[in-house]
């Protein structure tokens, strides 16, 4: 099967170098599955079936061994998402200080629902569980960055920033 897959899967050269380096971290290749999936998702945005087969071949595994990992861990996705990924913490400490309202504000601002790509393609909003920053609740991650004390007003401000960046790009 592996032969049907392009040898580099159009990954960036830096990603391929990183992947080869990551594999050396473990005495057993299979251990590298999560790190490889992270590297690929960061590069191309999601984990395709082709990627699953490519990782399996790379680590001398069966595709099911990779597939079961992709389907278990919430951070891996098999479909593209909006340009920016907004993750709002749903768990108790954040909810006690308005996390649900924060999420609703983002949804209104981008005219979308949790788990969907917004009509303008700019964002996908999601609830996630405790982000280990409960002392600065409510918290939100936008892509890799943590934002603290995100009440409704701050959610509006962050949304405006994303929209401004989007129109500057267009």
């Amino acid at each position: 099967m592996a032969s049907a897959i392009s040898s580099s899967m159009n990954l960036k050269p830096a990603t391929l170098t990183r992947i080869d380096e990551l594999i050396t971290h473990y005495p057993v290749k299979r251990s590298a599955v999560l790190m490889l999936l992270h590297a690929i998702q960061e590069d191309v945005g999601f984990i395709s079936n082709e990627a699953i087969e490519w990782v399996a071949a790379k680590l001398e595994l069966q595709p099911i061994n990779v597939y079961e990992v992709v389907t278990f861990y919430p951070m891996f996705r098999q479909k593209p998402i909006g340009r920016r990924h907004i993750k709002v913490c749903r768990t108790l400490s954040c909810a006690l200080l308005g996390g649900y309202k924060t999420c609703a504000t983002f949804e209104q601002e981008f005219n979308t629902h949790r788990g969907e790509i917004s009509p303008d393609g700019e964002v996908t909003i999601e609830f996630v569980e405790c982000l280990a920053s409960c002392g600065t609740a409510p918290v939100v991650m936008i892509d890799d960055d943590l934002h603290e004390n995100v009440d409704g007003a701050k959610a509006k401000k962050l949304s405006d920033q994303i929209k401004a960046e989007a129109s500057a790009r267009r």
């Binding site: 971290h25 057993v28 599955v33 999560l34 079961e68 919430p74 909810a95």
Partner: protein, 450 residues
């Protein structure tokens, strides 16, 4: 009486103006001197100091660190691995985050000392997936420490070497459970392993002896080497030694992290003085003292505990010292140090619904009582909030919860049933009366919790 002062050992520099997370700054502040000292000591002598220190694990279970190290199978001929639990995902807990982002070399020094003490040649830091910057900071810190000969082959001119690699999780809470973490590190679904036989100290990573310790625990090791086990044991209270970081969140004026000698500050001092008390116009209603799995405490309840001399004493919630043993004697736990505060604006059915949604989402699904039980507890509390509530729902919830604990592979079973058991036991009237309560208007400012 004012609250006692913080004693910052682990968080000595964290948050201080001008302190950065690079190697030069760490070395300027005396960094890696304890690794230099440790490497001149016999490994067994370091383990002895850790035993004498009385250090208990800061990840949740409070297991004595020296005892854990003593259980490692050193005769198997297999390599011994050290795995750092940096999954920090118990709701209410946010301390390891700051150590890794703001003082990564303190952790690396603690890892290298612990590795030397246990003849470990390979260590992994398992960091939760939602801390991508943390992973990059650690990778850079390890590379810098390696270039300075603190990590890697032949450290500090000796023949001893140990590598550290960073491994990222991907959003699953169960990866914090140590055997689930090991499975995840092996590249699989994080299904916890059954103990016996899979005690990590004997059959851990790749079926080799493995030490799993929390980030904060390993940082304490550095300070034990610095002051000696006996001196460290003088900090805190007997059997509850050292300092620990308390993370306060929810309904207080000033939430945040605070480092205290274990047992030297009470819940009342922590919440009323250190954290500035309840929000304006509010009173405290309930507090979860050690991460969301810990049983809830209701303000107003009292605990009658036995003293060593046979007499007894009665404590209010405010009187409880924040240690391992008293919290356990009060029927809850110090757990991960995450203190979640709820005031009188909170409806306890809704708060439990929030918690139940977490556990239903995070059960790995291996054990029927946990998979089905956590789901049904969520469904029941969700129905109560969003559809109709019945007077007997509290009892129904309790009966589901009572059938989980003790019947599962890992301690998640307990973790998911304790909130329901304690909320129903302590706020039973609120569950009974929830249908009526829903008919009246919510207090001003009350927020959706689920």
């Amino acid at each position: 009486m004012p609250a006692p002062a913080q004693r910052r050992i682990i968080f000595k520099h964290i948050g201080a103006p001008g302190y950065t997370n690079d190697l030069a700054c760490y070395v300027q502040h005396g960094g890696y001197e304890m690794l230099r000292k440790a490497i001149t000591m016999q490994p067994a002598a370091i383990i002895d100091e850790v035993k004498k220190s009385g250090l208990r694990g800061r990840g949740g279970a409070g297991f004595p660190c020296g005892v854990k190290w003593g259980l490692v199978d050193r005769k198997s001929g297999k390599p011994i691995y050290l795995v750092v639990n940096a999954d920090e995902s118990e709701p209410g807990t946010f301390k390891d985050r700051y150590i890794m982002h703001d003082d990564p070399h303190q952790l690396i020094e603690g890892i290298m000392i612990s590795a030397w003490a246990n003849n470990v040649k390979q260590a992994y830091i398992y960091i939760r997936g939602e801390m991508p910057h943390g992973a990059r900071i650690l990778e850079k810190a390890i590379a810098d420490a390696r270039a300075a000969n603190f990590v890697g082959p032949k450290i500090l001119g000796t023949d001893y070497g140990c590598e550290i690699y960073v491994h990222r999780g991907a959003g699953a809470y169960i990866c914090g459970e140590e055997t689930g973490l090991i499975e995840s590190l092996e590249g699989k679904r994080p299904y916890p392993r059954i103990k016996p036989p899979y005690f990590p100290a004997v059959l851990g990573l790749y079926q080799c002896p493995t030490i799993v310790n929390n980030v904060e625990t390993l940082c304490h090791v550095k300070h034990i080497v610095e002051m000696g086990g006996d001196n460290y044991a003088k900090i805190g209270t007997p059997n509850n030694t050292g300092t620990r970081i308390l993370c306060v969140s929810g309904h207080v004026q000033k939430p945040g992290y605070f480092e205290y000698e274990v047992g030297k500050i009470t819940m009342g001092e922590l919440l009323n003085e250190v954290c500035g008390g309840p929000l304006p116009g509010r009173t405290f209603k309930a507090v979860i003292p050690g991460g969301s799995s810990a049983k809830v405490l209701r303000f107003g309840e009292t605990f009658t505990l036995k003293n060593k001399d046979g007499s007894s004493r009665t404590l209010t919630v405010e009187d409880i010292p924040m240690d391992f043993d008293t919290l356990a004697a009060c029927g809850t736990m110090g757990g991960s140090g995450g203190v979640i505060v709820m005031d009188d604006s909170v409806n306890m059915v809704e708060a439990l619904a929030n918690i139940n949604a977490f556990y239903a989402h995070e059960s790995c699904g291996q054990c029927t009582p946990c998979r089905e039980g956590s789901l049904w507890m969520k469904k029941i509390t969700n129905r109560m909030v969003h559809e109709n509530a019945r007077a007997e729902d509290g009892q129904l919830l309790k009966s589901v919860a009572d059938q989980i604990a003790g019947r599962t592979i890992c301690a998640f079973g307990e973790a998911c049933s304790w909130p329901t058991q304690s909320f129903v036991a302590k706020f039973g009237d609120e569950f009974k009366g929830y249908a009526d309560a829903k008919k009246t208007a919510k207090p001003a400012g009350a927020l959706d919790l689920v």
